[in-house]
């Protein structure tokens, strides 16, 4: 692959402060629930199924309708249309049957929150219970209760393959090389099963949506969403209205991590608003609802068989993934696909057979969560690699360096791997964690260990996932940058502003990101998911700023009789290297310029536009999962952990984490490091604490008291971050995404370090103190 010229930059590559920081530390930043609607505002409350699988026999709303403050009630009859991102398999309100605890059955619209809640309690729903299925492996067996008998009639994306008459909503296959033959040539073969439970994203801001149905038939939806544009099209399709009549306004989001992608509860607000035209209706999930009524991370059962030669070369891999997609798999199906086409992890394996199944169960609905399947599959891959290294008597770092994927090698899906700094990342974290040196534990009852895990992840999205951007100016020469991607905390507005400032030759304080994102006024952005904004939206921003810059230089060149090549923009002024003339942007970006001698006025308002779409992405073959360019690129990285296990309590203390990711180009290095730190801690939280405990589909721990996430006292004191930069051909300044990747290797790195410390392997997350304590007791 061609080497890339390193460009000189002034703003790109520097750690400017976040553009939203001042608003956020003063309490001025507006989140969706902060918007004020005055006494007009009505409140919606959702009646949810207490059963995991049941037929709805009747819904009696008469008593509720008589209650003070109750304005209207909606039921499934109001929302007959199907909704879903890749597979339209759900209704906004359940129609004939409920498939999970928490499935919405009715909605009450009332003048106060209390009245809505009282109304909801007064609705009587009669159910006829149906047998449920709660394990994905059981759900694929013959005779399992069928959760979606109409699967065959659902609309589905062309790259998904549901199997009507079963609970399998997608089956992704890799058939690469002669796997049986390759296993025959292996000296060592390992086989095992790994499990990851459902967990929840736990944004500190719960889902909230406010909808107002205008008298004109237009509907405005204010929502805490990663996907204003996808919500526009999905809700329009489900409700049988024109997408242009749906306007979605997305304010700042108090954390998303995937659960605010696509549509989960927002359609409810819209359906309620239709009953009370002109009045805004707010629906806000309680913390309890947040745990199981939007998306959870899908549980996974992973069966892995892997073989290597005695020299340590991995030759063959066979995996089966059973994804617990839950009651609806409209989004989860694509996680199954992404997991399948990345199923080797960041390794070169010549022969691979993968079957990745997305399976309906009566558990909470699975959906995208930071990593999009990668944390779950790397949980198995990275432990199996460790065990293989041990069996072969090889060092775990050396074994990874020997097998990790390199530029020019063929990936599991048949793409030629692009330039990647993966081995640099591995070496870097090994050095930072002082691999091979063992410090004594801090107390006699503690044991100390080190572990490593590596990762890869490609953005998972359809190939027509597009980005647009625009640049328009103000009279003072400042400009407004239009983007449709959301600011979830990752810093997307800041890096977008940096890119535009870079191209247009102005200081950062001359750029204002046009916010909130509003589908009526903002440029299109598919969704803020897949860690794709810096790369995809960044390409659009760069193009828009370049377009504006060209118009400006052409205009000034024409006026001055110079060629644009001799002109530049510096610090908000157009300058000529040839004639040494200069003119401020404020003099020309709106009102144009006068030609010499005042003969004529030329120019006018400058407006730059840009777009990007990865048109070069190819399909993957249905039978073999092979294609020449099935995904845009892979971001790679590594993490190493040092920890102590308290043998008296089973408690794990993570002492240090070293992390290195190849981001292509860090547009803002401190923001990259902040992503890494946050991802490491979220990964640690999932590895040590988190599981949504389900009993026949019923969540047992949907509160912060019972579902623990990492606090200040659990978080590691030291996270050593390193940024590797191997430029990406299709990225702006060589950048590729990094937000999600940072949590992918943490949990397996911790598991590997725990093994190093106590000599016990655990196949199922999370590694709670209780689990470790019991294992230690059993061993002793």
């Amino acid at each position: 692959m061609m080497g890339r010229q390193v460009e000189q930059t002034r703003v790109v590559g520097t750690s400017v402060p976040r553009v939203d920081a001042l608003e956020k530390v003063t309490g001025a930043a507006r989140f969706t629930d902060d918007l004020q609607f005055g006494p007009d505002l009505l409140f919606g409350r959702v009646v949810r199924s207490p059963h995991a699988h049941a037929r709805i026999v009747s819904i009696d709303t008469a008593a509720a309708l008589q209650m003070p403050g109750v304005r209207a009630i909606i039921t499934g009859a109001d929302t007959p249309g199907f909704i879903g991102l890749y597979l339209r398999d759900r209704h906004i309100l359940a129609t004939d049957r409920v498939r999970q605890v928490g499935d919405p059955v009715a909605g009450v619209i009332a003048s106060t929150e209390q009245a809505a809640e009282d109304g909801a309690r007064a609705i009587r729903v009669e159910y006829e219970l149906l047998p449920g299925v709660f394990d994905p492996f059981e759900a694929v067996q013959a005779g399992a209760p069928l959760i979606h008998p109409d699967l065959g009639s659902y609309d589905v994306a062309s790259f998904l393959y549901p199997r009507p008459g079963t609970n399998i909503s997608h089956h992704f296959r890799i058939r690469k090389g002669d796997v049986d033959g390759a296993f025959g040539r292996c000296d060592t073969i390992l086989e095992d099963t790994y499990r990851a439970p459902q967990i929840q994203h736990v944004p500190i801001e719960t889902h909230v949506a406010i909808a107002r149905w205008e008298q004109t038939g237009e509907v405005t939806l204010w929502s805490a969403t990663q996907s204003p544009f996808a919500q526009r099209s999905m809700i329009a399709a489900a409700m049988g209205i024109e997408p242009g009549n749906v306007r979605v306004i997305g304010n700042y989001i108090g954390g998303g991590f995937g659960c605010k992608a696509g549509v989960t509860m927002e359609g409810l607000a819209v359906a309620m608003a239709r009953r009370v035209p002109g009045r805004p209706v707010k629906v806000r999930l309680t913390r309890e609802e947040e745990f199981f009524c939007s998306f959870v991370r899908q549980a996974l059962v992973a069966k892995v068989k892997i073989g290597a030669t005695r020299e340590g070369k991995v030759l063959a891999l066979q995996v089966e993934y059973y994804w617990d997609g839950g009651a609806y798999t409209e989004y989860g199906t694509n996680i199954t696909r992404a997991a399948g086409y990345s199923s080797t992890g960041p390794y070169f394996v010549p022969s691979v057979m993968t079957d990745s199944y997305c399976v309906y169960t009566n558990n909470p609905t699975g959906g995208p969560m930071r990593g999009f399947g990668m944390p779950e599959i790397h949980w198995s891959i990275e432990q199996v690699m460790d065990r293989l290294a041990e069996k072969l008597g090889m060092d775990r770092v050396q074994f990874r360096l020997l097998n990790c994927i390199r530029e020019g090698q063929e990936t599991v899906s048949g793409m030629t791997m692009h330039a990647t700094g993966l081995s640099q990342c591995i070496k870097r974290v090994a050095k930072d964690i002082q691999w091979g040196e063992k410090e004594p534990p801090s107390a006699p009852h503690k044991l100390r260990g080190k572990g490593i895990a590596i990762m890869w992840k490609a953005p998972a999205m359809p190939r027509n996932a597009a980005s647009e951007a625009w640049v328009v100016f103000n009279e003072d020469g400042t400009f407004n940058l239009g983007v449709g991607g959301q600011e979830l905390g990752q810093g997307s507005f800041t890096v977008a502003a940096q890119m535009a400032a870079e191209v247009l030759g102005v200081p950062m304080d001359r750029v204002r990101v046009a916010r909130p994102v509003d589908t009526r006024y903002s440029p299109y952005e598919w969704q803020t998911v897949a860690s794709r904004l810096t790369w995809s939206m960044g390409n659009a921003v760069r193009a828009a700023a370049t377009d504006a810059r060209k118009q400006i230089l052409d205009l000034v060149g024409r006026c001055w009789g110079e060629t644009p090549a001799d002109l530049d923009i510096r610090n908000g002024e157009v300058i000529s290297y040839k004639s040494e003339r200069s003119v401020g942007l404020d003099k020309l970006v709106i009102c144009g310029l006068s030609m010499p001698g005042d003969r004529e006025l030329i120019g006018g308002p400058i407006m730059g536009r840009g777009r990007f779409m990865p048109t070069y992405v190819t399909d993957l073959d249905k039978e073999t999962g092979q294609g020449t360019h099935g995904m845009v690129h892979y971001t790679t990285g590594a993490e190493a952990v040092e920890l102590e296990v308290d043998t008296a309590t089973g408690q794990v203390e993570v002492l240090r984490v070293a992390a290195a990711f190849d981001v292509g180009k860090a547009i803002n290095p401190e923001l990259v490091k902040a992503q890494i730190e946050g991802g490491v801690v979220q990964g640690m939280s999932s590895g040590l604490f988190e599981a949504l405990r389900l009993k026949n589909g019923e969540p047992l721990n949907s509160s912060f008291v019972d579902y623990r996430i990492v606090t200040t006292l659990d978080a590691p004191q030291e996270i050593i971050t390193a940024v590797v930069e191997t430029a990406q051909d299709d990225g702006p300044w060589g950048a590729r995404g990094v937000g999600e990747h940072t949590m992918v290797p943490t949990a397996p790195a911790i598991a590997n370090a725990i093994y190093d410390a106590i000599g016990i392997r655990f196949n199922e997350m999370p590694l709670t103190a209780e689990k470790i304590y019991l294992a230690l007791a059993h061993k002793a």
Partner: protein
């Protein structure tokens, strides 16, 4: 529901308001006084997003009844800056990159403010202990702890 007339000082301004007896201080601040900087993350005293200072002490305002604040002095995130001058904690949060989505930030700032007022030079351990009730899902906490250390000077 009975209502009560209460008087309290919020960010230095005297307010007289009628509140229902079951209203929380969080509801009063957000829904009546439109001070929406204070966030609601759980309504159950478990996340710290709603932290404000009540007579100088950090409280989860979702657990305090509005009537209990009668006669009290309340400080919210909107009241941290003075005369256009950010509180050193606010500046340190910006400088150290301690803000991501920003939803936990107001509560973090107020818990940290109470700590520094009580203990101007806390150790790292003391900072972590003081902030243990404030959940953050984005940052991993390291930068928040560093920002508090920096503001303490």
């Amino acid at each position: 529901m009975a209502t009560h007339s209460i008087t309290l000082t919020v960010n230095g301004a005297k307010e007289q308001v009628d509140v229902a007896s079951n209203w929380t201080l969080l509801q009063l601040l957000r829904d009546r006084l439109a001070l929406t900087g204070t966030k609601n993350g759980c309504s159950a005293g478990e996340c710290g997003a709603c932290t404000v200072l009540l007579n100088g002490e950090p409280v989860n305002s979702c657990l305090v009844l509005a009537v209990e604040a009668d006669g009290a002095n309340v400080v919210t995130v909107e009241g941290l800056a003075h005369d256009g001058q950010l509180d050193p904690l606010q500046q340190a949060f910006i400088d150290e990159g301690a803000v991501q989505c920003g939803f936990c930030t107001p509560g973090m700032l107020l818990s940290a403010r109470a700590l520094l007022t009580r203990n101007p030079h806390p150790s790292e351990r003391e900072i972590r202990q003081a902030l243990v009730g404030n959940l953050c899902r984005c940052t991993g906490y390291a930068r928040i702890v560093r920002a508090v250390q920096k503001a303490a000077g």
